[in-house]
């Protein structure tokens, strides 16, 4: 296989990964890494290329959410302190951990992410009470709904902050956006409305990933020949996915793709256990 053929293969794979990632709401990163590992790419190159594509898709879609007024920039900024420090921790862990361990952690995180984003959401009870710390930090906000602006209160800031550190660690360790865990921290722990949680999470992913990208760059994890088709492919695929998502019933598609995600998790855990990396 020559360079042109290999690049085309990766670009098509990245397009599919971006498409799948956007439809399932998991992000392109968690799909492209197992795909590259399947193509016998070293896991360090795989997470380096994936991380770059994560910055592209997050920044691209955050651009429109911010303008529409869904993202809460104060919540994002505060929690980015936790995610960026976590991302630095995670990026350093990649340099000392065995690739097999990284692969197994990846598989488990992928399984959990898929579970978290596919399960039905529960209704929250105490969303109308205020929280002293959240008020002091001016985190409460409002977001547009068809019936006008809907205001909300933020809760349990320290718990959310701690979970965000873990999300940042996993992002830096695995080269993914870890959007599912970020949404869990905001939606479940901090009781922030789902639409605000997902868009603010997206807004934070780019900054989180940029924090580990510096370390990856210096360590040589970002190879231009591999990152080029991955970044362009995932970006194009996720834009395509966002269009399709608006046009079709998403719950059916999500169920179909969850099977694919499950298979990929098993692949990563299996390869990690057998050392076939």
């Amino acid at each position: 296989m020559n360079v042109l053929e290999f690049t085309s293969l990766i670009a098509v794979g990245a397009l599919v990964a971006g498409f799948l990632g956007s439809l399932t709401g998991l992000g392109g990163g968690v799909v492209i890494v197992p795909l590259l590992v399947l193509l016998k790419v070293d896991i360090h190159y795989a997470i380096g290329a994936s991380l770059v594509s994560v910055i592209a898709t997050s920044s691209g879609s955050a651009a429109s959410y911010v303008k529409e007024g869904y993202s809460n920039i104060r919540i994002g900024m505060l929690l980015e302190i936790a995610t960026t420090i976590g991302a630095l921790t995670g990026a350093y862990l990649t340099t000392i951990l065995d690739p097999r361990a990284i692969s197994i952690v990846f598989g488990i995180v992928l399984l959990l992410s898929a579970y978290l984003s596919l399960r039905p959401r529960r209704q929250r009870g105490d969303a109308d009470k205020t929280d002293a710390l959240a008020v002091r930090l001016r985190l409460d906000g409002s977001y547009p709904t068809p019936a006008g602006k809907q205001s909300y209160h933020v809760h349990r800031v320290p718990l959310g902050f701690g979970l965000m550190y873990v999300a940042g660690c996993l992002s830096g360790l695995l080269g993914i956006g870890s959007g599912a865990l970020k949404v869990l921290a905001m939606d479940q722990a901090m009781r922030i409305p789902f639409k605000v949680s997902t868009t603010t999470s997206n807004f934070m992913i780019g900054v989180t990933a940029a924090a580990s990208a510096g370390v990856y760059l210096h360590r040589g994890y970002i190879d231009p020949g591999l990152a080029m088709p991955v970044m362009l492919g995932v970006l194009a695929g996720s834009m395509l996915g966002a269009r399709v998502l608006m046009a079709v019933q998403s719950s059916v598609l999500r169920r179909v793709f969850s099977v694919v995600i499950f298979a990929m998790s098993i692949e990563m855990i299996y390869k990690g256990c057998t050392g076939e990396l």
Binding site: V3, S59, A63, M77, A209, A210, L235
Partner: protein, 145 residues
């Protein structure tokens, strides 16, 4: 028009910089950064494939770090000047990494205009972590840290 309805802005913030306008600027900043980066990466990619497309594929199975020449922002800029196609791709990726950094820098300015100094502090912390990540390895290699 959000600005028009806001005839009497609070004394402590300039009337032109309300939250909606800040959100708009951040949105544009992100979009421009991603588009510019994609264009540069694509250009570098075309050049790369035109020059090296027929060579046999490098082995990505074993990890050997990217050549020293392309592992720091300064080196990437120097190599791009020499029309090195791999460096041009890296320049595009660097633009991409710089996009969220620019967004954080703009947020410092926006919070300062709103006299929200607590959030200026939070944003400065995030910027410090980002700059540390980007430059610490480079500085330590050169004995500056």
């Amino acid at each position: 028009m959000a600005e028009l309805s806001n005839q009497k802005p609070p004394e402590d913030r300039p009337p032109n910089w309300n939250d909606e306008r800040i959100d708009r600027v951040i949105g544009n900043l992100l979009r421009i950064g991603v588009i510019a980066s994609a264009v540069v990466v694509f250009t570098g990619g075309v050049l790369f494939l035109a020059r090296e497309g027929r060579q046999s594929n490098p082995d990505f199975h074993t990890f050997r770090a990217e050549s020293e020449a392309l592992r720091s922002p300064g080196a990437i800029l120097r190599e791009t000047g020499a029309w090195n196609s791999r460096a041009l791709i890296m320049l595009g990726l660097l633009l991409l990494i710089a996009t969220p950094v620019a967004r954080v820098m703009f947020s410092i300015f926006a919070f300062a205009l709103q006299r929200d100094y607590l959030y200026v502090l939070f944003t400065v912390i995030v910027l410090a972590v980002l700059l540390y990540s980007l430059f610490s390895g480079y500085l330590s290699d050169n004995g500056m840290l």
